[in-house]
């Protein structure tokens, strides 16, 4: 952190005394170490991931790295099957996010732009479903998937994710769609456009910012899920990354470079989503909570 250049020139010019400059210095003196402390766990795990097994065994897990090796990553990907797990997670996440947002946007469109009776009650009931503790659903969901014959399939995981997420996304999109001015839609109605056309050609394109925010959020939620995967999956080849990681940890008990590599591989996709869509991601978090 460049503490010396902390205060921007404009501030200094405006007030000739040293007050703001010194306050800026104190600010960075407090924040820089705190931020480093926050980042440190990630840096240490990365360091372990890139060390060789021999280095860790000889010098201890907490020692500064004296080796650089990709063995951890290659073992995690080959023997730990982390690659396959990442692919499973990608399938579930992509289909899950698209399907949830599509269904949620349909429901939100119906509730926000039409005189559906008891629309408020329906909306809040749907949102309430999303707020329920998942624990109350686990056992029945597991037995329902078994009786439908879809237990232990990625399809079951996708369906469960869609069902459980719907309420929240519908609620957020409803708020957004209601803010579209009536005039925009009335013009289309006069032109004789039907509901499907209005939805696809006008409402959905206007909702792009909200959809982007929710997509960034939903991607991390579905990708990061553990409990639903544990509930509906049993076969190792179908596990998403979170479950595969816990297995990896059991299988490579003292190979900390392998475990750390697996954890890093699992963290990369969501970190990429975060850095690529930071603004969308943050507004997605707010859109639900700030209501």
């Amino acid at each position: 952190m460049t503490t010396e250049t902390a205060v921007d020139p404009g501030t200094v010019r405006r007030s000739a005394n040293v007050g703001p400059r010194r306050r800026g210095w104190i600010f960075h003196a407090c924040m820089a170490p705190l931020t480093l402390l926050w980042v440190a766990p990630m840096v240490f795990v990365l360091a372990v991931a890139f060390r060789s097994f021999d280095d860790i065994a000889a010098r201890g897990l907490g020692a500064l790295p004296a080796s650089f090796s990709l063995d951890g990553f290659s073992t995690a990907l080959s023997e730990g099957a982390i690659g396959r797990a990442l692919a499973n997670s990608a399938v579930v996440t992509v289909i899950g996010v698209v399907a949830t947002l599509f269904l949620a946007s349909l429901a939100a469109f119906a509730l926000s732009r039409h005189a559906i009776p008891f629309s408020r009650t329906i909306l809040l009931t749907m949102l309430a479903g999303n707020l329920l503790p998942p624990q109350i659903l686990l056992i029945p969901v597991s037995s329902i998937t078994q009786s439908l014959g879809i237990y232990d399939s990625l399809f079951a995981l996708i369906v469960v994710q869609v069902g459980f997420g719907l309420g929240f996304y519908t609620f957020v999109l409803h708020g957004f769609m209601r803010s579209i001015p009536n005039e925009v839609l009335e013009a289309a109605v006069v032109d004789g456009a039907g509901s499907a056309r209005i939805y696809a050609r006008i409402v959905l394109p206007l909702c792009r910012p909200a959809l982007a925010a929710l997509a960034a959020l939903a991607t991390t939620w579905i990708f990061n899920d553990l409990i639903w995967a544990l509930t509906v999956l049993r076969t190792e080849t179908k596990f998403p990354i979170t479950v595969a990681l816990l297995n990896l940890q059991g299988g490579f008990v003292s190979n900390w470079n392998v475990v750390a590599s697996g954890a890093v591989l699992a963290a990369i996709p969501t970190a990429v989503v975060f850095f690529a869509f930071q603004k969308h991601f943050v507004s997605g978090l707010l859109v639900g909570a700030n209501k």
Binding site: A107, L226, F274
Partner: protein
């Protein structure tokens, strides 16, 4: 967020004429729009509300997943009172709500106040503190498992600053396991709480604080008596979210300790899962799930009331 602000003028006109036209417009809802609504609604009813109801009836039975469930009335609930692990799990859940909620709110609010005004470096600091919240709880748990290992970073760091005596097997010691998991969970949660408070602070009226400053109020007084009262809405949301999240907490405990050692870090949610999916006591497990639901419902309603009021 932006949606609520834009929505206000439109809402009033919409609500204003709805009573008059309701009857006529009801009939005008095209069949296709009903399909738009009913398909998602059916999915949620089938995969959320129907299973939830099932949990209630299952909680009154004894069932191992095979054959028919045997009705036992309220036995599962009575059994909880004699189950020492339930007592530990309830205590731990309360500790979790208080410590996890308290510390993540204190640190998150503090950081939000510190990083509220734009100045050089703020973006970098914010990103660094947000970053952990995008990792899966299971990944966070694994990160910290690596750090907590005997000879790992945490112990080495303690030894380096001369605290050799404090170093221990954090996750294998029943006295520290729960708190070791809590540290990891708070590390991940602070960024989220900070986002919420940053938005709340943005909504505060800066002229009020300036007026107080002119009147000679100290920085602390300005925060306590001018800014903090304006954050009441955010506080309610944060409070409700924290309790709901705490009651759901499962992944990070499962990834780090599985409730052990000797059930010392067991939460209601992990004990419920263990009873249901390891011990196959499906009735008892459902009863535990119902207890979690009952504890959460008040806070869910708080959140919903808040959601409607601003709408």
């Amino acid at each position: 967020m932006s949606s609520t602000q834009v929505a206000t003028p439109e809402t009033s006109s919409h609500d204003g004429r709805q009573p008059v036209r309701a009857g006529r417009r009801w009939r005008r809802v095209p069949p296709l729009v009903w399909v738009f609504l009913l398909v998602p609604l059916a999915v949620e009813l089938a995969w959320v509300f129907w299973p939830a109801l099932n949990s209630f009836s299952l909680s009154l039975t004894k069932w191992n997943g095979v054959g028919a469930a045997e009705p036992v009335g309220l036995d599962n609930y009575r059994r909880m009172f004699d189950d020492p692990i339930v007592r530990t799990a309830v205590t731990n859940t309360v500790i979790w709500i208080v410590v996890f909620g308290g510390l993540s709110v204190l640190i998150g609010l503090g950081l939000a106040v510190a990083l509220n005004r734009p100045r050089r470096g703020v973006g970098l600091y914010r990103s660094a503190i947000y970053l952990p919240m995008v990792f899966a709880l299971a990944v966070t748990g694994l990160f910290w498992r690596v750090l907590y290992q005997p000879g790992g970073t945490v112990n080495s760091a303690l030894e380096n600053i001369g605290l050799d005596g404090v170093a221990r097997q954090w996750l294998a010691d029943p006295d520290t396991a729960l708190y070791a998991v809590l540290v990891a969970a708070i590390w991940r949660q602070v960024g989220y709480i900070m986002v919420l408070y940053l938005a709340g602070l943005k909504g505060c009226d800066p002229s009020l604080e300036e007026a107080a400053a002119v009147d000679g109020a100290s920085a602390w007084q300005r925060f306590r008596y001018v800014v903090f009262p304006q954050l009441r809405g955010v506080n309610t949301v944060v409070f409700a979210i924290t309790v709901i999240d705490s009651l759901r907490t499962f992944d990070i405990v499962w990834a780090m300790t599985r409730g052990g050692p000797y059930n010392s870090s067991q939460l209601l949610s992990t004990y419920m899962f263990e009873q249901g999916f390891t011990a196959l006591n499906l009735g008892y497990s459902s009863a535990l799930a119902v207890v979690i639901f009952v504890l959460a419902i008040g806070f869910i309603i708080t959140y919903l009331v808040r959601a409607t009021r601003e709408d």
